[in-house]
């Protein structure tokens, strides 16, 4: 299959749509023109892209949470509870894993059995089985924008049905779904599937309905920022080519505030630079953060602290959206009360801090930014060079060479040579940069930072340190 960063033409898109919509009977419900009219009938406050753009203009920080429940009635009640009791600004539904993997028949059986027995036998909201008309009832029952949440190699029918039903944002991107959400799907396939989703979002955009694409460069656990930055930039070039205009970039806060804040502030600037270079105009870039995505503390009070730390990073970094995990993150799928309580803590912190001028030590943040810039550009420029100017062709080649890599990938086609570890202050550094195209200056910087930890703690930093760092936040302090 020949894949490159080229907008799908109308014929290609139309032909592929027929196949996508035929994947399950509810695909027949999708009528693009009618869906555009439906979106235009909704108030602007229910559009994810518009609401986030306003936040960027006004300097507001929006809280966001989500849930995934098979019963549409209970899913609706849960989201209403987050809206009314949790003072949440943006909602989402997590799609169940049968639907995510295209097993719509099993999702349907699981849904029926769940409703019959009252026990949830599928782990999310089976949006494809519900279809457009039923899902619209959920969208109409809340006052906030709703987003599709989940990552999978083929998100095409989920996006078709979700957006037609009134959803105005979606997660999912080619690289993260390839490297961390499947075992052996080639990057060519996930890229092609997401080109379709981006083209669909572009269609709505051109019809006057902005749809937000959330792009994450990885799951962000012990992962140096430049790696996820580079991947997010490459995927943004892919999305922009297909007509996406509203991109929200995800930064996973990992606990060292100076580094997290630098990442939140710097990723959109770096990404904008590449979008400009390739001539994509009128792009609206925003940023979303989430707190530590590794093992959370079991204790709810300690979990509150971790949630608040992530929100502080969002405030200092001037992100537009703070995705709020819950105090039950480590224990279970959260109940609505725990979810709402977590959101209220985040909201309170934002309300108190929003008009204060707070700065971190600018020298420390500047060093982090400088290194993130050097490293990210080294990776992205090499990818573009490998593709003779085409980021998609370059990414496919780069993955084979390990020039693009991932920390803890699930896919066997990823080199899996890169490892991150914390330095003495808890910032995440490259313990092993594998085949990433780094200069001596970059490599020496990371070695030096790791050496500081070794010296301060009198212990060699190696694989045992990675294990320590994976559990440190749940057990005690950031670095043990």
């Amino acid at each position: 299959m020949e894949i490159r960063n080229k907008r799908l033409n109308d014929d290609e898109f139309r032909q592929e749509r027929e196949k996508v919509l035929a994947m399950w009977p509810t695909g027949k419900e999708v009528d693009l023109d009618e869906a555009v009219e439906f979106h235009k009938s909704l108030p602007p406050g229910k559009n994810h892209a518009k609401k986030v753009a306003v936040a960027k203009e006004t300097g507001a920080i929006l809280t966001r949470s989500d849930s995934g429940i098979p019963s549409i009635e209970e899913q609706t009640e849960y989201l209403q509870y987050l809206q009314d009791e949790g003072e949440c600004d943006l909602l989402g539904t997590i799609i169940d894993s049968f639907t995510r993997t295209g097993r719509f028949e099993e999702a349907e059986q699981g849904l029926k059995k769940s409703l019959r027995t009252g026990k949830w036998l599928i782990n999310g909201f089976p949006i494809v089985d519900y279809g457009v008309a039923k899902t619209r009832k959920l969208v109409e029952a809340v006052d906030l924008p709703v987003k599709l949440r989940g990552v999978a190699p083929d998100w095409r029918l989920i996006a078709e049905i979700g957006i037609a039903a009134g959803y105005t944002a979606s997660a999912g991107a080619p690289m993260i779904s390839f490297s961390q959400f499947c075992q052996d799907v080639p990057l060519e396939i996930t890229t092609r599937n997401f080109q379709y989703m981006y083209r669909l979002m572009g269609y709505y955009e051109e019809a006057g309905v902005p749809i937000l694409s959330e792009i994450s460069g990885g799951v962000g656990v012990l992962t140096p920022n430049s790696l996820t930055h580079a991947i997010a930039i490459i995927d943004s070039l892919n999305a922009a080519e297909q007509g996406v205009k509203n991109i929200c970039l995800m930064v996973h806060a990992q606990g060292n505030l100076a580094q997290d804040v630098a990442a939140i502030m710097f990723l959109p600037k770096l990404c904008q630079g590449y979008l400009d270079r390739f001539g994509y105009r009128d792009m609206k870039l925003t940023t979303v953060t989430t707190s530590w995505s590794g093992k959370f503390p079991d204790d709810p009070a300690q979990a509150f602290a971790m949630i608040c730390l992530g929100v502080i990073a969002a405030i200092l970094g001037k992100a537009q959206v703070a995705h709020v995990k819950t105090i039950q993150e480590a224990i279970t799928i959260p109940q609505k009360e725990a979810n709402a309580a977590s959101l209220k803590a985040a909201r309170k912190l934002i309300d108190i801090l929003k008009n204060q001028r707070i700065g971190l030590d600018s020298k420390v943040t500047e060093i982090e930014m400088k290194m993130q810039e050097l490293e990210t550009k080294a990776i992205v420029d090499k990818v573009i060079e490998l593709g003779d100017g085409d980021a998609v062709i370059g990414a496919i080649k780069a993955v084979k060479l390990g020039v693009l890599d991932q920390v803890f990938p699930t896919n066997r086609y990823v080199a899996s040579r890169v490892m991150g570890v914390r330095d003495n202050e808890g910032a995440v550094r490259y313990l092993d940069h594998g085949n990433l195209p780094f200069t001596k200056e970059i490599v020496d910087f990371h070695r030096g930072k790791i050496a500081e930890r070794e010296k301060a703690r009198g212990k060699k930093v190696d694989y045992e340190s990675i294990v320590d760092d994976l559990f440190s936040i749940s057990r005690g302090s950031l670095v043990t």
């Binding site: 961390q180 959400f181 499947c182 075992q183 052996d184 656990v221 920390v407 803890f408 990938p409 699930t410 896919n411 066997r412 990823v414 899996s416 040579r417 490892m419 092993d432 190696d462 694989y463 045992e464 990675i466 294990v467 994976l470």
Partner: protein, 141 residues
């Protein structure tokens, strides 16, 4: 020792089952690579056939199977037999992770998996240095 002479040995690694728990085996791979082994990582959701085919292709000395779904008793039986069928009579088989659901006694579980043809069976909290030592012993390095 077979395979490439620059390495202590060739190890096929992966996670068996439907889940995508990956972190443990990735850290182990890193440790083993630094200890001088050649690693053939298969990632998550690896089938028995995938393990055997990769071992044949790469002339591996050992297969390291990680299982975290608690279903190891269903997922791993037959792997030794498949190796023998493929001509890998002497290959070492290691198993580790969260192998079973519930309160079964570790000694019983270890015995059961050893009877299935696994040379080494590990609990989740095993120090990685122990795995490296065992490999060095078993591969007579």
């Amino acid at each position: 020792m077979k395979g490439n002479n620059n390495f202590k040995g060739t190890l096929v690694t992966g996670v068996i089952g439907d889940d995508v728990h990956i972190v443990g085996i990735r850290v182990l791979e890193h440790a083993l690579r630094n200890a001088g082994f050649r690693i053939v990582p298969l990632g998550a959701q690896v089938s028995q056939e995938d393990f055997v085919n990769a071992a044949v292709e790469t002339k591996a000395d050992a297969i390291l199977v990680s299982s975290l779904s608690g279903h190891a008793n269903v997922l791993v039986p037959g792997l030794r037999e498949k190796c023998i069928e493929a001509g890998l009579r002497d290959i070492r088989l290691y198993l580790g992770g969260q192998l079973l659901i519930g309160e079964s006694k570790w000694e019983d579980a270890e015995k059961m998996f050893k009877q299935m043809g696994f040379d080494r069976v590990y609990q989740p909290n095993v120090p990685l240095s122990k795995v490296i030592e065992d490999l060095e012993t078993d591969l007579r390095l």
